[in-house]
Amino acid sequence: MSHSAPDPSHEDGSPYDDALLGSDASHWAFGTDFEDPLAGVDTTLPDGVDARTLATYCLMLADDALVASHRLSEWCSRAPDLEEDIALANVALDLLGQARLLLARAAAADASVVPALPDGSPVPPEDALAFFREAHDFRNVRLGEVPNGDFGHTIARLLLFSTARLALLERLTASRDHVLAAVAAKGVKETTYHRDYAGRWFLTLAQGTDESRRRVEAGLAEVWPLYGELLRTHPVEAEVAAAGVGVDPATVADEVDVVLEQVFSVSGVQRPGVPPLAGVTGRYGRDGLHTEALSRLLAEMQVVARAHPMGQW
């Protein structure tokens, strides 16, 4: 996820010489090689935590952010107006940043979760995790992966997602894993803006025109079956919570519900009467069980990286 162009200083007489770049070719695009988001950060495991379990937990938090970020970024140039286009892209960027840190943390905790690439591949671990895993290795909840509907659908999903994520990250700031605690502390600040944004738009749409209300209610009804899974405990989450490094989402379910009730009541919207989407043979997104939509999302997100496993980005 680190992007860079070829170093133009290697091309004598190129049109990008001094006139455009001055004497410093490092100003070409953003950087000229990979930047480790955890460069120099102490990634030693805390006592009493299984490396694989911690890495898997990091993937859960990372994949939620990565998949949500990708769906939000699909709005780029297509949002109802320029301000919302920029806003949704900003939320997507924050989540992408959280995903990068968490994927890097997963790889540092247990390198065996990182897919193998050909010898000599310059692809860094966070990119290998994002672009070279199959859908069944993704640990995100299914709420994040279902296709975008209209703006009302996106706001309803972002409200549920950011409310739960903020509550989780607030607790995670107390993690015994210093990296997770630090990522969470940054994430709380960012996600506060995301939740307020979603909440304000939910209220605006619900109290706007008949059409805007109809749409946000329809969007909420579409994503509501996936709400329960967001706060359902997976054994890995129970294990990291018991070890003091992670958060069991079930422990924040009540406070998430209180915040949502606040938004619904001021908006005059009833909770949808639709049942939760069941797992398949007891498996959910956290187990790697996904809807078909994730495969399509990943096909688009991963195609270029997979075509060039030796590529330098």
């Binding site: 680190s2 860079s4 410093d24 490092s26 100003h27 953003f30 950087g31 000229t32 930047e35 480790d36 988001p37 955890l38 460069a39 120099g40 950060v41 301000e83 919302e84 920029i86 806003a87 892209a89 900003n90 939320v91 960027l93 924050d94 989540l95 992408l96 940043g97 959280q98 990068r100 840190l101 903020l166 509550a167 607030e170 210093h178 990296v179 605690a181 630090a182 990522v183 502390a185 940054k186 994430g187 709380v188 600040k189 960012e190 506060t192 803006y193 939740r195 307020d196 944004y197 909440g199 304000r200 209220l203 406070e255 915040v259 606040q262 938004v263 001021v266």
Partner: protein, 163 residues
């Protein structure tokens, strides 16, 4: 904090807001000299800040130009960056360039409270000084800024958000 290497690092500017040095932005967290190596610590403003790689490259180049052969840049995630770390000089530089500097960051205890009303900030238009301004969006051209519009001179302007 006033070593020769620190003084060099402190001249590097933010690629997205070049009126600010990394020191004024509060992103430069420290410079250590070990034997022949210089280790510079920086912290991202927001998790997804795309300018980190450029900051790192600029620090390395500037310090190499100053004669430091071995320069390393490390990330420091704790404590998380706060807009309160922007220096007085940095705030003045922002205002001089038409960007409204941040107020005090929220200090909370307990759960983050949901806010369904537009954020209220007592800020003035950096061009005409009028306090009659309206929020256009909490999100702007970079992760750290909100968009405003002055209802007196009608010019849009950016405001660095409090985090």
């Amino acid at each position: 904090m006033s070593s020769p290497a620190y003084a060099v690092a402190a001249t590097v500017t933010d690629p997205e807001m070049p009126m600010l040095t990394l020191e004024d932005l509060g992103v430069l967290r420290g410079v250590e000299e070990h034997d022949d190596a210089v280790v510079v610590a920086i912290t991202p403003t927001y998790s997804g800040c795309p300018a980190m790689a450029t900051m790192r490259d600029d620090l390395v180049h500037r310090l190499r130009d100053a004669g430091y052969a071995d320069v390393r840049v490390k990330v420091e995630l704790t404590p998380a960056w706060s807009s309160d770390w922007i220096t007085e000089r940095g705030r003045q530089a922002l205002a001089d360039h038409g960007i409204s500097p941040p107020g005090s960051a929220p200090h909370r205890s307990g759960p983050v409270v949901l806010n369904l009303l537009p954020t209220r900030r007592a800020i003035a238009c950096p061009r005409c000084g009028s306090a009659d301004v309206e929020l256009t969006s909490e999100f702007g051209a970079t992760a750290c800024k909100a968009l405003y519009r002055c209802t007196a001179c009608l010019e849009p302007f950016e405001h660095v958000k409090e985090i």
